[in-house]
Symmetry: C2
Subunit: 647 residues, 2 copies
C-alpha cells in the first residue's frame, strides 16, 4: 500500500472511532472530527516527531487543537496508537479503544474538550473556548527557541474560529518573533455552528490575510494525503527563513459520510440507530478510494524525536532583596527611606529571578516601562517576550511557555489583564504554571481614570483561590503587597509555587512596612499596628490608608489594630480571633468593587457564627479621573477620614 | 486663506491647547494628541455633519476615539468650537478654554480618557482600554443603517493599538455587514508606549491587511490637509459600493515640535518650565507653513446634519408570556407541563420584545441555535446582528448600538461572555443601555466540560451590582431565573431598565415554579417552599436542587424553606428575617465559584451582626465533563443529597 492510501485508511479508521465515541457519549462533534481526519493522520502518524509512550517529552513536536471540539479524532488516534494517558508518569498506561468509549463520562480522563491535566498529556492546553490555541502554540515555539530545542509546533484552527481576533494577534506575534517552528493550520470546512462561515473566513481570504500578516500561505486539499505531506515537508525549508508557514486546508465537514454533511450537523452525535449507516458510508468511501479491506502496516511511521529535552534546574529559586534592588538601581532610594512603588519591587524581583534561573520569562503588553518588567527586558532580552498591545495573546503565550517548561510572568496594567480573563481561566484549567501581574491596581492610579483602573479583579480571582485544580492545589493564589519588601518576597514566592498566581501592584509609591527578613506566605496576613478597639483590614495601598485612619483614631483616643491581608485564600481564623479581642468589630478597606476582603471575612464570620461585625469600605460608584490618589479616594468615600469616622 | 492653510492653523491651535491642558493636568499624552491634530481638524471642522450645540443628535455624524489617550486634542477642538458639554440637555453649556484646563481634575467633566457620561456627549463610548472603538463605531453604523439614517461614523485607531485582535474582529464585521458608513482611520505614528510599533503595524502592512479584510485602503500623509480632505471626500462614492473605507494616515508623534518627538515621550506631559519652548516650536512650525499670525475665519465650515433623527417609540415595552411562547412554538410544551429551558424562554421573550419594539436588537456569536436568539434572527433579521465567533467585537458593537438608540441583547454562552469582560466593563462605564445574556450558565451543561462552563461570572458581575454608575443607578442588574416564566419576565424587565443587565440562562430544562401572573423585580427573591428548620437559598438550576434537598429533608422530618434568589443586588433583609424564623440557618447552593449568593448574604449578615449562620455550597474544584448534570453536581459535591446532609 502507498503512504497516501495508508493515510486514507487510517483517517477513515480513526474517523469511524471518533463517530462511535460521540454516539456512546451522547454528545460531541463528529462532523468536525471527520473534517480533521486526514490532517490529524498526516501529523500524528507521519510528520510529528514524538513518542506515544512518552508524551511528556519536552523535545517532541506538539499539536495544539485550538478548535477543541474536534478532540474525538485525536482521542481516536491516541487509542489507535496506544499512546500513554494518565495524570503523571506514575499512573501512565496505554490508551485503549475502551478508554475512547468513555468519552465525556464523569469518571473518564477524556473530557469533552482537550483537558490535559485530567490525564491526556498529549495536550499542552485545555482548549474549547475558541481562538486561543495558536497563541499557546506560539508560546511553546518561543520556549523551544529559548532552549535551542528543534521542536515543531502545529496548531489546528477552525475557519469559523478564525473570526476570533486572538488568532490574528497570534499571527502578528508569530511573524513578529519569526517563530518559523510554529505552523498555523486552518481547517476550512466552511461550516460554523449556526451558519456557514462568512466570506472573510473563506480559504481564499484566510490565505490572503495570512500573507498580509507576513506568513507563507499554502492552500491545500485537506483530504489529499500527498498534498498535505508535501506541504508539511516544506517546513524544513521554511524554518531556515524568516517567514512562518500557514497551511490553509480546504476540508469537508462530515467528510466521508453524506449523512454527516451540511448545516445543522454541528455538535450533534450520530444517533445510535443511525450509527451503522454512517459507519457504512465511511467504509463505502474507503472502497471508493481503494482502501477497503486493507490494514495499515508500517507505511506510516512516526519519526523519532530529534532533539534532546532541555536540562532543567530544579529546586527552589532564591533571590536576595537588597541585591535585587541594587541590580535594579533602587537600593539607594530604598536605603534613604524613599517610598518605592510595589511595581518597582516587582520589576526588581523579576530581574533577580530571571538572573537566578533561565526558566523565568517575562511577557509584556507594551507597558514594560510602567510595570517595570523593562529591567528584565533590558538585561536579559532572550528571557523576554514583548507581546505588544494584545493581552489575550500574551496570556495564552504565557500558558504555552509554561507547557514548554518555563516560569512565565505576564505583566500589564491590572485593568488590561481583564482583557485576558477567558485566556487566564483556560490556562488555570490547564493547570499551567504561570504568573499574572497586574500593575496600577485599584483606583489610586487616579489621573488616567476608570478605563485604566482594575476594580472587579479581586472578586474574579478570589473565586479561583477557593477552588482546587486537578492537582488538588488552589486554582489561583492571590497576592496584593503593600510595600516593596512584601512585593519582592511575594514575587519570589510565586516563582516557587506551581500554578497560577495573581499579583496586584501599585502605581504610587508606598512607605516601607516590612524588613527584608520578614517572610510572607499563601493566605498570610500581618498585624501592622496593634490596638484594642477595632480592626482595620486592608491590602495594598489601603493598608496605608488604614494606618492613617488609625492615627486619626488615636487622636480621638481609640486604638485600632491594622491588618495587612496580603494574600487569598486568607487564613481567617487568626483575624477573627483578633477581632474578638478588638470589640468584635472589623472594617475592611478596599480599592475595588465588593467581592474581595469583605466577602472573604464575611463568609468566614457567617460560616463560623462568629460574634464579629463587619463594615466594608470599597468602591461603590464608578470612579473618575482625579489628579492625585487622595482626590479619587475622597470622591469614592474611601479616604482615611471616612474610615476613621465609621468607627 | 486656503482651506488647507486653515486646517494647518487650526491643527496647531488645538494642538497647542492640548499640550497646555496636559501640562496643567500634570499627566496625559500630548505627543499622541499632536499626531492626531490634522485628522481631528479635518473631521471635526470640515467633514463631519454635526452640531456643536446638540451633540446628542442621533442623526449627526460621529467620531469614536479608539485610542482614548489622545483625547486632549478633541477636548481642545470642543473648547475651541464652544461645543456643548453637560450630563444632559438640562445641564448643557458651551465648553470653554477654562474647562479645558481642568482636564483630569476630580471635579472636571474632562476625564483622562473619553468618558461621555461624565458630561461630554460628543463621545458615544468610554475608551482607553485599547482596541474597542472600531467595534463601537460599527455598532453605531449598524444602528444607523437599521434606522435608514444617513450617518457616517469615523473611528480613530492607533497603530500600536492595531495589534489588538478586536480591531480585526471589527474589520471582519464591518466588511461582513458591508457597513460602508463606517470609516476606519489608522493613525500610524510608528511609536507605541514602550517601543516602536512592530513591522506588522507599519502603515504598509496595515493597508495590506485592510485590503485582505475586504476594505478599500487609502494611505495618506496624515498632516497633509488636502490629501486628508480628498480621501474623506471619497466616502460618498464608497458608500454606494460594498467595500468599506480604511484610511491609513502616516503621522508624526509629537508633530510640530521636535521636543515632543522620539521615544520616551508617550504619556508624559510637557513640564511647566518647558511649555513655552514646545508652544514656541509649534508656532515656528506654523511659520514654516505660512500660517503664523493668521486667524481662521469661515474657511472651515462644519456641514449641517443631513438626516432626520429616527423617531423613537418611548414608554415601557410590554409583552405577553403565553403569546410569546406561542410565537416561539413553545406553548404546547409549556401547557403540557414539559420542562422548558430558561434559554428557550429567553429566546421567546427576545422575539416578543423585538416584535413589540424595533429598538430591540439581537446580537449573536454563532451560537444562536443554542441561546435561542435564533427565533428573532429568523423572524426579524433586520433587527439582528450575527457577529460570528468574535465576542469582544459583539459586546462593543452592542455598546455602539445602544449609543445609536437601540436596546441590544447580546447573547452567547456565559463562558464566552468572559471573553468580553473588558468590553462589557467599558460599556458599563459608558452607561450604555445594553443587555448581556449568558446561556449554558454554571456547571449543569455537563458534557462539554469546563471550557464551556461559566464559574467566575457571578462574582464578577456581583461587584458591579453594588456600585452605581454616573446616573446613580446600579452599574449592573443581575438576573438568574429558575424557570421559563421567570426568565421571560426578567428579559422583559431588562428591556425596560436603563443600563447594563446580565441574565444567566440554563442549558437544561427546569420544571415550572411560577405562574404567568407572577412578577419579578431587581433585587427580588421568592419563597418557593415554606419551612421552619433551615433556609436553602439558590438560583437557577440550584433552586430545583434545593427543592429536591427539601424533599429529602422532609422524609427525615425536617422542614426546609427554599428561596429563589434570582436577582442581585439582593434585598437581603427579608431573607435574613426568614432565616431567623428558621433556626438562624442558611445554606446557599450555587453552581459557580464563591463570590455570589454566599458573599451577598454573608456580608449582609456580618454587616448587620445578624444571628444567622451560613453554610455555602458552591463549586470548590475545577469541574470536568459528565454526561448528565447530576454526574457533575455529584462530582462537585453539589447534589441535593449532599445539601440535605449538611443540615
Amino acid at each position: 500500500m502507498s503512504i497516501n492510501n495508508a493515510v486514507h485508511r487510517k483517517a477513515i479508521d480513526i474517523g469511524k472511532l471518533a463517530v462511535e465515541m460521540t454516539t456512546a457519549a451522547g454528545s460531541g462533534h463528529p462532523s468536525t472530527a471527520l473534517s480533521l481526519a486526514h490532517l490529524v493522520t498526516v501529523l500524528m502518524y507521519h510528520r510529528m516527531r514524538w513518542d506515544p509512550k512518552d508524551p511528556w517529552n519536552l523535545a517532541s513536536d506538539r499539536l495544539v487543537l485550538s478548535e477543541g471540539h474536534g478532540v474525538p479524532i485525536i482521542y481516536a488516534a491516541l487509542a489507535d496508537l496506544g499512546a500513554v494517558i494518565g495524570k503523571d508518569k506514575a499512573h501512565a498506561r496505554p490508551m485503549t479503544r475502551e478508554d475512547a468509549m468513555t468519552l465525556r463520562a464523569i469518571d473518564s480522563m477524556l473530557d469533552g474538550h482537550p483537558n490535559p491535566a485530567l490525564g491526556v498529556p498529549f495536550f499542552d492546553a485545555a482548549t474549547g473556548s475558541l481562538g486561543q490555541g495558536l497563541s499557546v502554540a506560539a508560546g511553546l515555539a518561543a520556549a523551544a527557541r529559548m532552549d535551542k530545542v528543534d521542536r515543531d509546533i502545529y496548531c489546528l484552527i477552525g475557519d469559523g474560529e478564525a473570526r476570533e481576533g486572538q488568532i490574528w494577534e497570534a499571527m502578528d506575534f508569530i511573524a513578529d518573533q519569526r517563530l518559523t517552528n510554529c505552523v498555523a493550520v486552518f481547517n476550512c470546512n466552511q461550516l460554523a455552528q449556526s451558519d456557514w462561515v462568512s466570506p472573510g473566513q473563506s480559504s481564499e481570504i484566510i490565505a490572503k490575510k495570512a500573507e498580509a500578516y507576513g506568513f507563507i500561505a499554502r492552500t491545500v486539499d485537506g483530504h489529499n494525503p500527498e498534498q498535505l505531506r508535501k506541504t508539511f515537508d516544506e517546513l524544513h525549508v521554511v524554518k531556515n527563513g524568516s517567514k512562518p508557514l500557514a497551511v490553509v486546508a480546504r476540508t469537508v465537514k462530515g467528510w466521508g459520510s453524506e449523512l454527516e454533511q451540511g448545516t445543522d450537523k454541528h455538535g450533534h452525535p450520530v444517533k445510535k440507530e443511525a450509527l451503522q449507516n454512517v459507519l457504512g458510508e465511511l467504509e463505502a468511501t474507503a472502497g471508493d478510494l481503494g482502501v477497503a479491506d486493507v490494514t495499515v502496516g508500517d507505511e506510516l511511521q512516526i519519526p523519532p524525536i530529534a532533539a534532546k529535552a532541555p536540562e532543567r534546574k530544579t529546586g527552589p529559586i532564591r533571590v536576595d532583596f537588597e541585591k535585587g534592588l541594587e541590580e535594579a538601581g533602587l537600593l539607594k532610594d530604598y536605603r534613604s527611606g524613599k517610598p518605592l512603588a510595589t511595581r518597582q519591587a516587582y520589576g526588581a524581583a523579576l530581574l533577580a529571578l530571571g538572573m537566578a534561573d533561565r526558566r523565568v520569562v517575562g511577557l509584556d503588553g507594551d507597558v514594560k516601562n510602567s510595570t517595570y518588567s523593562i529591567w528584565l527586558y533590558k538585561r536579559l532580552p532572550e528571557q523576554f517576550l514583548e507581546c505588544r498591545i494584545a493581552e489575550q495573546n500574551m496570556f495564552s503565550v504565557a500558558a504555552g511557555c509554561a507547557a514548554g517548561g518555563k516560569i512565565p510572568f505576564a505583566s500589564t496594567f491590572a485593568k488590561f489583564c481583564i482583557r485576558g480573563y477567558d485566556q487566564i481561566e483556560m490556562a488555570i484549567i490547564t493547570g499551567a504554571n504561570f504568573k499574572v501581574v497586574g500593575s496600577h491596581a485599584g483606583v489610586t492610579l487616579a489621573a488616567d481614570g476608570p478605563s485604566q483602573m482594575s476594580l472587579p479583579d479581586v472578586a474574579f480571582f478570589r473565586g479561583f483561590t477557593h477552588a482546587t485544580n486537578y492537582f488538588g492545589e488552589p486554582a489561583v493564589r492571590y497576592f496584593f503587597p503593600s510595600d516593596a519588601v512584601g512585593c519582592f518576597k511575594m514575587t519570589e514566592l510565586m516563582a516557587n509555587l506551581n500554578g497560577c498566581c495573581y499579583l496586584r501592584t501599585l502605581r504610587a509609591g508606598t512607605a516601607a512596612l516590612y524588613k527584608p527578613t520578614d517572610s510572607f506566605e499563601v493566605g498570610g496576613w500581618k498585624v501592622v499596628r496593634e490596638g484594642k478597639d477595632v480592626v482595620l483590614v486592608g491590602a495594598g495601598y489601603m493598608v496605608h490608608e488604614c494606618v492613617r485612619a488609625a492615627d486619626e483614631l488615636a487622636r480621638a483616643g481609640k486604638q485600632a489594630t491594622v491588618i495587612d491581608a496580603y494574600s487569598l485564600p486568607l487564613n481567617a481564623d487568626g483575624v477573627l480571633e483578633i477581632a474578638q479581642r478588638n470589640g468584635g468589630r472589623i472594617i475592611t478597606a478596599e480599592d475595588n468593587y465588593t467581592g474581595g476582603l469583605d466577602a472573604e471575612l464575611a463568609i468566614a464570620i457567617a460560616e463560623r457564627g462568629a460574634q464579629v461585625r463587619l463594615t466594608p469600605f470599597e468602591v461603590r460608584r464608578i470612579p473618575k479621573s482625579g489628579r492625585e490618589p487622595e482626590d479619587v479616594l475622597g470622591y469614592l468615600g474611601l479616604d482615611y477620614k471616612r474610615i476613621a469616622a465609621a468607627v
